[in-house]
Subunit: 484 residues, 4 copies
């Protein structure tokens, strides 16, 4: 874990998306560019920025990394005091340019831009209904449903139309809208994905998926947008609406485990600190005698440090990363095959040889990478290898905006811990318990009893109700006894 | 330090070059591609591979990163059982395609390819002489002088011509030559740059700047090529020549400090282990009370771990890197300026606030980056900031293949430690002593007395003699009392 | 004229668009690629192809020329037995990728692709109406209105929805639709733009803007689609519908003058033959003594040949084209300026010196190019220069799909022939009369009396009625006494 | 023929190269860019420009067309008052960047740039000799030999070294050299390739392969450089040297037939006028009754006009070109194959049907294209097809800088006229005789007796002597009784 580096992408829950918006700053596009840059770990497939300068909208989007997409001339074209931006991790629908956000449309009230982090549950149903009314769809993104609902609303103001439309959708979403009337931000009633509000030093406001962006653009953290809250930011400042009935929040705990950057503060806690405490709790639950603690870089670093610090076993970064791993690496196609993790990592024999080592990572999805890493450490001469995972076993896919493998590909869905240990050829394997995870999140505070998190990927306990038809579409069948 | 990551390139001695050669393996180009990939930290500006298939030579070279230059079809074109490759860090002569190695020429004996890591002292002098004899130069690289000397030799075999030609040059070099007669490797009599020999599991031999490449291609380390040794690898195996008078070796100690990858074994020692010991020695020399030890990622990690482990002060990676920092980042051009290090690093306030922190890095060149990092940590709330550098002050440029700033830009050349401390606004600053550095290298072994290293950048003690004219050309004047 | 070459684009009515569709051939995409290639003169800014293989639709589009856009792998992806394609000349809305056709949307009946040659009169009005019903627009093309009308229709079959929708639009259009139900072609009741039906030798049907495409793909001309006719081509063959009240046709006569390729047969006549007769009629109307007839290459060639042949004055191609003129030519920015036509044409002094020359071109729009050509011929030593234009003066813009300059830029809109002659510095200038033009079209046949053409650009006589509001939007005011 | 258009490249003697140089104009690079643009027909594979600004040389070269290679910023970098440029048609040695001219080298006297149009006979011999002296070759171009000879010379001035070096080479060449001492132009003693001197209106001189460039840059034709003449242009003006013994000139007559642009004046005659007279002579020699004369566009236009004018048979451009034919056209790979000429040309049935047609082209190399064109015209309904070629049969390859097919591919080398007629399926076929060709060149003037042309491709009469070894290398054997 740590910060969602290229390496980890081998075998993890994949990234989702990042959103960023600015209102009231003369360099809205530049700030958004920086914000997307700091959110690159939430999506590397494509990015886009939409700005509004009081008269016209300006739009740039493309496939690729933020730094490659936005040239200086490109940023200069993006004039305006208000902007929204998006980093996309391509999920279903493929990597077509049509699917790159912001979605920008012309409709009865003028122009509307939207970015979305999350996933709708009833998107297909609404799509069919809208098409029956004559709606035309350009993309395969379920996010497009939302702009159609807004376009079909008869309300006079965008914010009213947004509220009316969100009343019809179910699912996980953080949304930013840019219109002639200002910037609107919305977080679903369960608060699955994070969204924070900041005040920019030079004037204006920012809405972003993570607070690490505030440090970069010199904005001050104001507060998190609350679950179910809609804010409109315009010349009059920030207005807040809470139009929906209150439900029990279900914030994504996996943001702590892997997604968010360690320098972000999420749902009120610092991510690095939570992760380090996860390592400590892991030690409490599954101690083992050993000579050294090794993190899987960089995702396992904080938990490994927490584990090592509490256990007094020496910590060493004995797996070395190649910092120049890029997306374009071509595996030579002949006899030398299956580099897999070797192209990215190398184990230092001089440190490992003859040692009993504890290897710490944040999560274990398919198990294939863990198996390769164990093999690499064994080849470097380790006497014993104990794998420690600083989160519980992942048993079920996410339907709230994260690109997980199918249930069958999740090794913990079909195998118990001992079977997994054998598969990855470790001498021992232990996961952090759900209770341990929450102790780490709450740092043993009194909040612990009242935890408001979504743990569906660890527990199959999906907080947002499904209809029977949705269950079938999502591959969740009756006998799995899901809540209705 | 650690592994020469993009971040560190802000303010360090710049990288130099990496060389890699294979003889006797059917996929020589694929192995060379992997080798260059693992040596990317030694040069990111350009790369090239030359192969020989027994009948024809095949050549690909371009500006950019290894993974971007060599496509699958490109590697398929590079047929042959023998290959040489090069990663270039552009120094003088600019980033022209003409200057990308391998140098490949047609001459009296057929075709000759060459790669060079190092720098010649008497290149200009030889160039003038060769031009007087009618030689034509295509590039601005001093390496080109060597192939001209070989072309002008009257000997019958390439190896003889190489020996004759190397007898005329002075400077630092590891050279690989590919010809119809086989692969030739040469290391200068001082052994300034590293060159190791490996045996490939599937058959054949490899010569490489660093041993980390052997792990990736599954080759076994055989031995280092000795200072002044020339090896020819062909169908008959490996032949060795030592035609030059013996001199005291002067291996580059800065390879330990920063250049080489931590998973390489260099001059007989593991680099990571040496660096960690440097941290320990640093603690012995400049202890200070503090609450935490922070590495500058990733270059300061091993020394910081060594320092923390020995001092029992907690270690935390409280500076978080943006893993997606690329070469193409455009700094927005208006009011939000001077991101410098902020775009690459962020300090975690929750960890640092109110703490006395020790920040460890491997070296300090201009001081500008250290100043920014200290400021960032101060802004995050640190109470005291103590900077510890795990190598001595850099006071003089390198003329042996490393792209250093001019003497005036080296902050330690013109300022004492207290002045530098003030400049970087730290509460204290300490460097490792030269003695401490060598204690770390030799791990207090008996070899210590017999150290054979070049320390010119720390000591102005240049091991390879200069003529008066060369001294003038290089900006080294009499009153600096250099050895003649 | 002649064949719409790059040169002529300097100063003419700009191209419009080309459409091409195939049904019932296993290589529909390849045929469409060839068809678009042969129609490149009708639009060079962007192209796209949509295919249907019985199960899925495949879509490729991009800015640029046909041969640059469609690579072999790209054509291989475009599987299917049915296809539509489009060449775009960018008019209003700019050269954005969103505006590249085919338009492809998902709607209630499935997927719908559409290409459009022409221009709607009441597009803005319909757009406002559709937006009020909740429609979302992605592009700035008025063509998008048509697919929204179809999506909002409640009919069960696409063809019925197309008929219902076309009943609501006014303007010039040739449309092709590709859906799961087959290929549909439609031509507006005035028949402004051409659309022909062909039968492919290897099986299947083709619909295309021009018959020159049939020669290339070895299709046989069947017949022109009639004004107001809608055809559906599917497994059952070709069905024809004529659902609209009959109006007097108003086919674009400028297709004969300039747009269509000379090897096409248009509205029943061969274009080259018509143009050559225009040259003959021009001679009858404006004879002059001279030593040679010179065409402006290549647009003036057929008329110049017709003029020379009838006058017995020798014909010479004394203006030589640079065949390598591309779109990317950079005019050096300093003292050597204003190459204009010189970069594309050169006059042969040896032929021209001391001669009285007649220069023939097909039309004269702004007059700026004619002025430069006259100057070039004068510099080459001509004694007298007589300019002859094989069409009437252009006095009014086209609103039916052709990108004309504004009225003020049309030199004949604001100047009489003598004033234009002075401006272009010719010794004499004559245009072909409207009557002469139609004599050439009908070759003095009896059809002449019954001519069914749009001559609005020559006469301001717009055949499709405008509302008052449309007149204002189009810049056509009352005092210009336009038909209502 | 006419102007060496993309079409003709299907089946002709391929282009060679074009050279252009400027001295004494502040925008030397811009003028050279324009000159190369006007010489694009002489080579489309690659281009380069070298400039000198009194202090430094600036160099840009690349594969592709002139207009694609030189961007505005690129031209701005090419500072200086002196420049040389080159268009390359890739012959042997392939299309490697190393082979793109200007050749630029550093040698004893400083920097030397060179461009070459032509071909050396004794290049291989000199290359071996130079390598024996230690020379290193970077490219596979024989032109590189010349710069090595210059580098090996001991003379003090470049011009002296050039003269000494040219004394050692045999072959066809027009050479331009750019050095610190000025611009040097050289034409071989036989004067095979053309080179003309012009005076630029704004100051300075120009040397160019063709005079059509002078019209574009507003330079005045001064004179042709004479066979065997060397000129140096510098601050003192133009100096001329004729250091070599006089030989009978052997100017390439094929420049008149095909290579040069019709608006150039070559060896004292206008090319278009010569070509038109070739058509007239062709009529005299091979009259036939027919209804129309058709040129193969654009190469056959002037001769067809000459033929038609003298015969009083009507002339029509009944073969229509697609003006958008580019290099990148992908022939669809399946059932629709063998487009060949169809993608570039289309015959107008309305003109041709039932007619006896005479088709005129400038030359006939392999016969494959002529065969396709005859078939196309026959399919369009022609009753009789008479092919007339305005030059003699090509029986032997060129060794003087033109890329001809091998002897076996030259249809007239192995077949008589009647056999060729059958192959191309024409009703009759006639070539212009050598005598007729020269009557056209000299316009029946008294010069005719004294003709100084190379006709080797028509006659096997090679004017530059070969050694026996060269004859073997070139595939010219004894029994072919070549001059020694």
């Amino acid at each position: 874990m740590t910060d969602n580096d290229p390496l980890h992408a081998i075998d993890t829950m994949s990234e989702e998306c990042g959103v960023f918006g600015v209102y009231g700053h003369p360099e809205a596009a530049n700030l958004t560019y920086l914000g997307l840059y700091a959110l690159q770990h939430r999506g590397q497939e494509a990015s886009g920025i939409l700005t509004y300068d009081g008269k016209a909208f300006h739009h740039e989007r493309n496939r690729g990394r933020v730094a490659d997409i936005f040239s200086e001339s490109c940023l200069n074209r993006l004039k305006g005091h208000a902007a929204i931006g998006h980093n996309r991790y391509s999920t279903t629908g493929g990597n077509k340019l049509e699917n790159v956000q912001p979605i920008v449309v012309n409709y009865a009230l003028g122009t509307l831009g939207m970015v979305h982090n999350g996933n709708l549950i009833n998107g297909n149903f609404l799509r069919d209904e809208l098409e029956a009314y004559g709606a035309i769809f350009q993309s395969s993104m379920d996010s497009e449903v939302i702009v159609h609902l807004i376009a079909h609303s008869k309300r006079r103001h965008v914010a009213e139309r947004v509220i009316e439309s969100l009343g019809r959708i179910r699912g996980a979403y953080c949304l930013l809208f840019l219109t002639e009337e200002g910037l609107i931000g919305a977080r679903d009633p369960y608060g699955v994905r994070p969204l924070s509000l900041g005040k920019i030093k030079g004037g204006g406001y920012v809405l972003a998926s993570e607070t690490c962006t505030f440090d970069l653009i010199e904005a001050e953290f104001v507060r998190d947008i609350e679950p179910g809250e809609i804010v409109q930011i315009d010349e009059k400042g920030v207005s807040s609406f809470k139009p929906f009935p209150k439900v029990a929040p279900a914030q994504c705990v996996f943001e702590y485990v892997y997604f968010s950057r360690p320098d972000s503060n999420l749902f009120g806690k610092n991510v690095y600190a939570v992760r380090k405490r996860m390592g400590r709790e892991l030690l409490k639950e599954s101690q083992v005698e050993a000579d050294m603690v090794i993190p899987v870089p960089d995702s396992g670093v904080p938990a490994a440090l927490g584990y090592a610090e509490a256990s007094l076993i020496p910590y060493d970064t004995a797996l070395i990363r190649n910092h120049y791993v890029g997306r374009t690496f071509i595996e030579p196609q002949q006899s030398i095959r299956h580099f897999g993790v070797k192209i990215k990592l190398n184990a230092i024999r001089e440190l490992i040889e003859g040692k009993r080592v504890i290897v710490v990572d944040d999560s274990l999805v398919r198990g294939t990478t863990a198996r390769k890493i164990v093999k690499m450490i064994r080849t470097a001469g380790a006497k014993e290898i104990h794998v420690r995972i600083s989160s519980p076993p992942i048993v079920s896919p996410c339907f709230y905006g994260i690109d997980t493998p199918t249930r069958n590909e999740l090794v913990a869905s079909t195998h118990n811990v001992e079977e997994i240990r054998k598969y990855i050829t470790a001498d021992s394997l232990a996961y952090l318990s759900t209770e341990g995870m929450f102790r780490a999140v709450y740092n043993n505070s009194s909040e612990y009893e009242n935890k408001h998190f979504c743990t569906a990927c660890f527990s199959e306990d999906y907080p947002i109700p499904f209809t029977g038809e949705e269950r079938v579409q999502l591959g969740l069948f009756e006998d799995q006894a899901l809540p209705n």
